[in-house]
């Protein structure tokens, strides 16, 4: 059976690429520290020596649209073109092409359907920065095939938080039952408190530092029950109007497991958002 060698949860700040590659007076003062933190985080994936990456993210109204909106979607394609004109325009993100791991996509779809998740699928998916940002930060050589998993954290009605956790648990079970000798890492990105297009956007810190502190504690200690007890679709409006992206972190807590402490935790308090980086090694930090 395949081996789950790393579980990684991260924020996906679209400004990282530009900040880390800019020079001279264009280089923001926080860039060097950000790069150091990201490179240390990258090492946590590298040392797990993955063959395949399952990438959990959320389309930001790029390909998926309100006339046909899936709640959970799995890509099944040999390749995925990536990044859109408006991401190039606003964030300076490059166009990319990623390879797909179609046999794992097919397995996740078939077995996921049979396990109670009515997953949508796409045979031609252009992926956006929710998946390319962690490739840029964690695997910039972009040499591994992926299985993209998209969640709807964006267009209400949304699935309940517990469904994200359940999907995470199911993804883990499916990877660990996949008849293959591949080493698989799951990487999911979301947000802590975040406001976009509202009055609390682009402040000196994230819109709700207290929420961020609690969220980091839930994630790093694997406190799924505590998190589910406090987080609801309604409650997530309070920390910031884009905070439903936190449910992708909850999905990753489901992959990692109840009570499972993260083996690596780091945060970085940036303007307008708290960056957060977590890695679990299911088979122990000794791999």
């Amino acid at each position: 059976m395949a081996e789950l060698v790393a579980v990684i949860a991260s924020t996906h700040h679209p400004f990282y690429h530009r900040a880390s590659t800019s020079t001279g007076e264009n280089r923001p003062p926080f860039a060097d520290e950000w790069v150091r933190k990201v490179e240390a985080f990258r090492e946590t994936l590298t040392r797990a020596r993955p063959d395949v990456l399952v990438m959990v993210g959320s389309d930001h109204f790029h390909q998926l649209w309100l006339d046909n909106m899936p709640q959970f979607l799995v890509g099944k394609a040999p390749f995925y073109d990536a990044n859109f004109y408006n991401e190039e325009r606003e964030f300076g993100l490059p166009k990319m092409v990623l390879k797909g791991q179609e046999d794992l996509s097919a397995y996740v779809l078939r077995e996921g359907l049979d396990a109670g998740f009515d997953l949508a699928f796409s045979n031609e998916l252009r992926i956006d920065h929710s998946i390319t940002c962690p490739i840029i930060t964690l695997r910039p050589q972009n040499d591994l095939p992926i299985v993209p998993v998209y969640t709807n954290i964006f267009a209400p009605p949304l699935p309940q938080p517990k469904r994200f956790v359940q999907l995470g648990r199911t993804i883990r079970q499916l990877i660990e039952s996949w008849p293959s000798d591949q080493r698989v890492a799951v990487i999911g990105t979301g947000h802590l408190s975040l406001e976009l297009g509202g009055p609390r956007q682009f402040g000196l810190h994230g819109p709700d530092p207290q929420f961020d502190q609690k969220a980091v504690e839930w994630i790093s200690s694997g406190d799924i029950e505590g998190c589910l007890a406090e987080v609801s679709l309604d409650s997530l409006h309070a920390p910031g109007n884009a905070t439903h992206g936190f449910m992708d972190f909850m999905l990753m807590m489901g992959v990692a497991g109840e009570g499972r402490k993260a083996d690596y935790v780091d945060t970085f308090d940036l303007f307008h958002t708290m960056e957060a980086y977590f890695t679990w090694y299911p088979n122990g930090a000794g791999l």
Binding site: D67, N86, P156, R200, G203
Partner: protein, 120 residues
């Protein structure tokens, strides 16, 4: 009340470089053209199989035609779509990094929780 159509305008303009420029230069004309020619297109269908019933109400049409993003927020247009498109339209007019984004927040500062519903 057609939040969906507001979002459809923002979505289809934001993803098209020519339409972004056209909306910047001639917002009222772009909105009028879009409502007449594009509003009923089903994006994944042949043009011969368009919808027949979609139109803005007067408030929505006026808000789009005036680049009035605080009113779009009040009407429940999706905040991410609104922000992204208006950054494309106006960020270039601000010298300071994030200057437009901060002004945008300031112009919405009279809103408090709960924000307008964005469900479509």
């Amino acid at each position: 009340m057609s939040r969906y159509l507001l979002d459809k305008f923002l979505f289809t303009v934001d993803r098209d470089p020519e339409l972004v420029e056209r909306y910047r230069e001639d917002p009222a004309g772009t909105v009028a053209w879009w409502e007449a020619e594009q509003a009923n297109r089903i994006l994944n269908c042949h043009d011969g199989e368009s919808s027949t019933w979609l139109r803005f109400d007067d408030t929505e049409r006026a808000a789009l035609a005036a680049h009035d993003y605080p009113t779009l927020f009040e009407l429940g247009a999706h905040p991410f779509l609104t922000l992204t498109l208006f950054i494309a339209v106006f960020e270039r007019d601000h010298a300071e990094p994030l200057g437009f984004q901060k002004e945008y927040a300031q112009r919405l500062s009279h809103f408090s929780l709960p924000y307008p519903d964005i469900a479509t």
